[in-house]
Symmetry: C2
Subunit: 147 residues, 2 copies
Amino acid sequence: MTPQALQDYFHEHIPLSKAMAVEVETATPLVVRLKAPLAPNTNHHGTVFGGSAAAVAVLSAWGLLHVAMLDANIEADLVVQKSGMSYELPITGEFTAEAVSPAPEKWQRFLAMLVKYKRARISIAAVLNCEGRKTGEFEGDFVAVIL
Amino acid sequence: MTPQALQDYFHEHIPLSKAMAVEVETATPLVVRLKAPLAPNTNHHGTVFGGSAAAVAVLSAWGLLHVAMLDANIEADLVVQKSGMSYELPITGEFTAEAVSPAPEKWQRFLAMLVKYKRARISIAAVLNCEGRKTGEFEGDFVAVIL
């Protein structure tokens, strides 16, 4: 899946991704990196609204799982069950959310469980950056279900 | 502050609140309840995108603090430091996020710390509902700073 194809998917199916002007920079089974500008995501301080940061982060994590499942040739519904964000610095301009694949042994165990039980859970982490500095962290627990 | 005044403030300063079509139903120092429709917040399953749910929740919690600080006649910057969401049920239509005031002793301690040290931290919880059922929970840690 190309970055453009993932971006088109987001903009077509998740209108908020378009409202946030999310672009997909990288879309591989190991890394999904999204980018968003300040203007549509600003708050009353002229920095990025915490809700925008959280929404772009969860989108990056969901996108990583989506791309990795396609790569593994497994069709499953992916639903977020729990998420946490820490906001470390104000985000003062264009920012990125980069979700990375879990450790290989965790990923293999997740796929094995999913194939065996049609249902499995996995945590995906993402990091927010702005102008070369880390501004926050996200972690989400997702459940995959084969219908 | 009337619900309409808080809604106007959100729409003017946080464009994502307008993109999510957030309306303010209640705005008191004890409860801030926001409402949002499905259409601008939908995902590929036709339910509410987790990022929208998180963004409306953090907005309700920030809104509660904002209204309560105005009511206490204290002018301070309010910044979210950490947040957590649990997603219990899919949100299948219009939904609300209702943030409630902390217990009175916590609130009084927070105000006393803020007045004394010009900086204090407080947790605000919010509940998401759809069609009379609880669909998720939010908790956010906010820092208030008197400049």
